[in-house]
Structure formats: structure tokens, C-alpha cells
Symmetry: C2
Subunit: 373 residues, 2 copies
């Protein structure tokens, strides 16, 4: 007997330019708690959504850092409980969405995030507060995953928490929210989406549903990220990038990621590269070795994306990264040869690295990193 695959992605998706201003109809209850990045509070984006919720009591929380800490989560949960939030809206990049997931649970689950995570012994009960995720970057796909990543400052680690209560009730995908993204964020988050897609596609846990969504996501990134980068208010490019991020998010929500993400963890926490940069920098090198176990499938992908060979796909992706000013060498983000052994070790400690379609051991990873130093 062979269990070919499982699939479960229960979020209700609403996709369209401008629809984040029309979410009132999905919200039951009176008290809405909007969690956003500080920038989205100061630029008025969070308030614009809050003000569209006629007759609701809206509370804003924006004390969120880029790699959100458990302390931020607990502070947000305290406020959400105080206002008896019926609905938690996460508005932002990955950080705000990740915080909204756990906070929407903590409104009716007592205690701290530490009680449920990273050695905590309590189990989250059924979420009773509505959770709506509204992404403002086209990259993380966090709106369609059941994962939140939180930083335990005391222990100095960043750890994912996976929980079925983290599936959003509503994922609202509005490309208008990305028009004001800085160029560098457009580039790095766009390549993060590409990594999600390709890591779902070549994943040892790949499945046909995710394969198809991932293929389309990669094509959309290749065809649109340059334009989104150079023409920030090009509606078609922004809309296509948002779609790419969504489809890639659904894909990797089922398969998880692989070596690219595993190695991104030390590059983010220790070298302070943004998540997308930390992922993209090893992407071309991983494409090259993916043929070790998935030659046929990768050749099909290369052809679908308009390349003759997998090597040409890797080169095309590297060219694209240069065009949108992303580093393609580890040296560009401050990594020295003497760091490679440590990065290898930390990367290998992430279980997802074994979902890569190539033998993942110290030697392979060290050599891969050295090839792009």
C-alpha cells in the first residue's frame, strides 16, 4: 500500500486588486484587532482597512520586528485579550502574518506562546477567533500556510511552529498593497516566492496539485519580477507577482521547503540577510544539483519555463537575480570561507534539508556554498 500524498489547505481565498477595502462582509463580531508592521501603520495602510470596517471597534498593534519574537507575540496577545478580539487581522509581510496566527489562538488559549512552543507542554485548543491574513509583499505565502516562525530571543533561535489552527479563515490577496514596496523588497520577496515554488516542485514530498501550482508560480515570477521591480505600479506585473506568491505558498504549505530554506536560516540570523536574499543566493547552485535525483522532472520544468536545459534554467535565474540587484555570491552578504563550515552544520541540522532531491551531507553542502563564495 502506498500513500501517494495528502493535501489540505482550508483557507478561503479572495483575490483581486483593491479587495482589502471590502473585507467587512467577512467579519462577524464587533472587536477587530489589526496586527501590522510599523511601516504599514505609519503609512496609513492599516488604518485604511480599519476605517473600512464600519461600526466595528478596531484596535491596532504594530510593535512587530522583522523576525518577530515571542515577547512581541505575548504583548500582542495581551492586548487582543483585553479588547476581547472577535477577529484578528494580520497585515504585512511574513512577520505580521505569523504573529496574527498565534495571537488569534492565544485570545482564547491562556498563557504565553512559550507554553505551546519550543518546549512548551500545552496544546492549542480550537481557535475561536476569526483569522484573516492580508499579505503586503508578494513572496512569503504565509497567508496560505499553517506555519508561524518566531524568534526565541533568550535561546537565540528562530523556530517554526506548525499548527492546524494557524490556517487563516480568510486570505485576502490585494496586489494594490504592493505598489509602494521598495525595490529591494520586491526583488527579494519575489525570489522567495520562486524558491517556495521550486522547493515544492522538487521536494521529496511533492504532489501533483502542488507541482502544477508551483510551475505556474515560477513562470509568473520569471515573466514579471523584472517589471514589478522597475515599474512599481505596473498593475499587471504586481497582480501576477501576487498570484505567484499565493500559488507558491499553497504549494510549499503541503510539501515544506528544502535545502535553500535550510541554509537561509543561518544566513538570516547570523549575517542579517533578508529572508528572500538568504534564500535566493543559493538558488542557482541548488537548481544545478537537483538533477541528481529529479533529472526528468527538472528537465520538464526547464522546458515549461522556456529553457533548453536545467543548467540554462540555473543560469537564467542567476541572470535574473543580477538584473534585479540581488546578490549571487555569499561574499556579497558578508560570508567568508571560514564561515562555511558553521553554515553547513546549522543548515544540516534543519530536518527539511533532507527533502532536497540530492544527497545532503557536509561535503556536498560545503562544496555548494564554496562554489558561490
Amino acid at each position: 500500500m502506498k500513500n501517494m500524498f495528502n493535501y489540505h489547505m482550508p483557507a478561503k481565498l479572495y483575490v483581486g486588486a483593491g479587495i482589502s477595502g471590502e473585507v467587512e462582509k467577512y467579519i462577524k463580531g464587533d472587536s477587530v484587532f489589526i496586527i501590522s508592521d510599523p511601516f504599514l501603520y505609519s503609512n496609513g495602510a492599516a488604518k485604511k482597512i480599519g476605517e473600512s470596517l464600519k461600526g466595528k471597534k478596531v484596535t491596532y498593534f504594530s510593535d512587530i520586528e522583522p523576525n518577530p519574537t515571542c515577547e512581541s507575540v505575548d504583548a500582542a496577545a495581551k492586548e487582543a485579550r483585553a479588547v476581547k478580539a472577535d477577529c484578528v487581522i494580520g497585515l504585512g509581510g511574513g512577520s505580521a502574518l505569523d504573529v496574527s496566527k498565534i495571537v488569534s489562538c492565544l485570545t482564547t488559549n491562556e498563557g504565553s506562546i512559550y507554553d505551546y512552543y519550543a518546549g512548551g507542554t500545552r496544546v492549542l485548543g480550537k481557535r475561536e477567533t476569526t483569522l484573516m491574513c492580508i499579505p503586503t509583499t508578494a513572496g512569503t505565502g504565509s497567508e496560505v500556510t499553517n506555519v508561524g516562525v518566531y524568534t526565541n530571543k533568550k535561546a537565540g533561535i528562530k523556530m517554526p511552529m506548525v499548527n492546524d489552527e494557524f490556517w487563516a479563515d480568510y486570505a485576502v490577496i490585494d496586489c494594490e498593497l504592493t505598489y509602494t514596496l521598495p525595490k529591494g523588497v520586491t526583488a527579494s520577496t519575489g525570489m522567495d516566492a520562486f524558491c517556495h515554488a521550486i522547493e515544492a516542485y522538487w521536494n521529496k514530498e511533492a504532489n501533483p496539485i502542488c507541482d502544477m501550482l508551483a510551475m505556474r508560480a515560477m513562470k509568473l515570477v520569471l515573466d514579471n519580477v523584472r517589471t514589478a521591480y522597475s515599474e512599481p505600479d505596473n498593475v499587471r506585473a504586481r497582480s501576477n507577482m501576487m498570484e505567484a506568491s499565493l500559488l507558491a505558498g499553497i504549494a510549499f504549505s503541503q510539501t515544506r521547503t528544502t535545502g535553500i530554506h535550510a541554509l537561509s536560516f543561518p544566513l538570516t540570523t547570523e549575517f542579517h540577510a533578508s529572508h528572500g536574499v538568504a534564500c535566493a543566493v543559493t538558488l542557482p547552485a541548488f537548481i544545478k544539483i537537483s538533477t541528481e535525483e529529479e533529472a526528468g522532472k527538472m528537465q520538464l520544468l526547464a522546458a515549461y519555463l522556456g529553457f533548453g536545459t536545467v543548467k540554462e534554467l540555473a543560469e537564467g535565474v542567476e541572470r535574473l537575480m543580477r538584473d534585479i540587484q540581488l546578490p549571487t555570491k555569499l561574499g556579497e552578504i558578508g560570508v567568508k570561507e571560514s564561515d562555511l563550515e558553521h553554515i553547513t552544520e546549522v543548515g544540516l541540522s534543519a530536518a527539511i534539508i533532507q527533502l532536497t532531491p540530492a544527497k545532503m551531507d557536509s561535503e556536498t553542502i560545503f562544496n555548494l556554498l564554496k562554489s558561490i563564495l
Copy 2:
């Protein structure tokens, strides 16, 4: 503002050869009510699943006809209530799955299906009984839709009921259950899956997620239905057909269907064609006119499926239908020229017909039907 698309398909999918014998782990509660077609009870398939549920009290119900009536539904609901079913399992083709959907709701909603449907004024409350759908044909996709179709014998009509409580908690896709399908059923249900996919793809409510799933579903049917037809226990062909049906089901669960299904209704109820036959017979003719509003998208599809033009795709599908002994002319299922006006009228009365990518009026439909008389 443009709402590009919505998407929601919350069922948990478990896909694999033989996994219908391993469902015990998903079932909470003690009382399981298995609804199956009579054939699946007499051949032992229902009992095999029931007997795998160690320590559960299992009740079987198999008094289900091909186009299930409201009376059958009420009879099943009465028994399910009597045994206080915690879980309803639907095992079968479309009929048994459709009955299981409404029965799983009626266990904790009082009254008859007539109270909630076809003029009934009550609204189904939240379903409290677990619903598991296990398809035994590769075609209907009913396991991943929120639709049930029931026949009101008194009024002489067959009507779909759409309800979010009809999404299965678990859809268990086990191709081993299709090895014993008669050839004619393999052929007709396989083409039903193709129709679901193409009707989702060219649909006015099409969306990118469904497009990708539909494309793969169509390719799988074209590549596998001949083998599944001629070699009933070819595992690869059966598994691929099951996957096709699943992906096509997800696709049309979001978009609904179009003219092919609209015209199938009178062909089923009045000319007693099976559902798949009634759909497939107009499929090549509809492919030909789909270019009226979707020329570019249909050309892309033809290329993806290995055809030079949309016309060649239509011809290829017709050839395939002949190879698997399906009628390609209305005359073969007993339709006479004098029937065409009535079929046109009934087809046009179905709202879904207006989701077809061509002008749908009496003249067009009459001519389409006449072209395949």
C-alpha cells in the same frame, strides 16, 4: 476594483492505492454509517471498509438508486439518526457520495431533505457528524465538491443543492476501488472527468488554480483512459485516472460547469443516458465553439495536450471516444431531430449554460445539437 477570483476547498485529501482500508485513524466516535451503492454492498467493498474499523459500531445502508431520490435520502437519514451516527462514510459513484453529504447533515438537523431544498425554508445548521467521501469511480469528483444532486420524484426534476456543509472532512482517493469497474463505466466516468476539467478551464468563472489542475486532469485522461478501459487492473492507468478525476473535481468545484453539463440534464433524465455519456456526447462540438470567446486560452490548451489546433483537439477527443466505445452522435442514445427543440429549451434553462465561452442562445444550441445528430 476587480475581484479576480475566490477559492475554497477545505476537504482533507488522502490519496493512495489501498488507503481506503486505513481510514480508521481519521474517525472519532463509535457509530459509523456507511452509505454505498447496492453493488458495493453485495460485492463486499463496503463491508471490507466497515470491518477495518476495529471496535466501531458499523451500520450499512445501500438502498440507493443511480439518480438518488429525496425519499432515499430521508430513509437513510432516519437510520443514521437511529444509530446516532458519529461519522457518515459515502462509498460509491456520485449517487452514494451525494446522499452521504446531505445525510451527514440531517443526523443533527431535524426534518426531511425537502425542508432544506427545492422550495424548503429551513437552513442547514453546522454539520456535527464527520463526513468521509470515498469515490469508487474515476469521474464524478463529488468527493471534492460542495454539491449534491437529488431527484424530486414527485416534481419529476433533478436538482443540485449547494451547501458549504457538504464539503467532506476527508476525501479518500483509492484507485484500487476502481479495478473492478465495468468497461463502460470506466469510459463514461473518465470522460465525465475530462468534461469537468475542460468546463472549468474555459469557464467564465475560471481561475488560475483551477486552470492548472484542469490542464493536468485533461492530459491524464487523454494519456490513460484507453489503457484503463482495455486493462482494468493496470495500476498506473487507474491511479492516473483517479488523480484526473480528483483534480478535475477540485477545478469545477470552484467554477461550476457549462453547456456540456447543462445539456446533459435532459439527455440523462429523458433519454436515460448515463451522466458521463450524456456529457461526452456534446464535448467535441463544444470544444469547436469554445474558441468564440477563448481562442488564445484554448490554443494554449491544445498545445499543452499535444494538438496543433483546437479543431484537432476536438477531433482527437472524438477519436478517443470512439476507441472506448462511447457514442459520438445523439442518434446513438435515441435522440431524434424532433427532440432537439425541447433539449435546447431545457438546456438553456440551466443557469450554468451561460458560463460557456460562446453565445448561448436557442439557435446556437439547436445547431450544435443538430451537427451531432
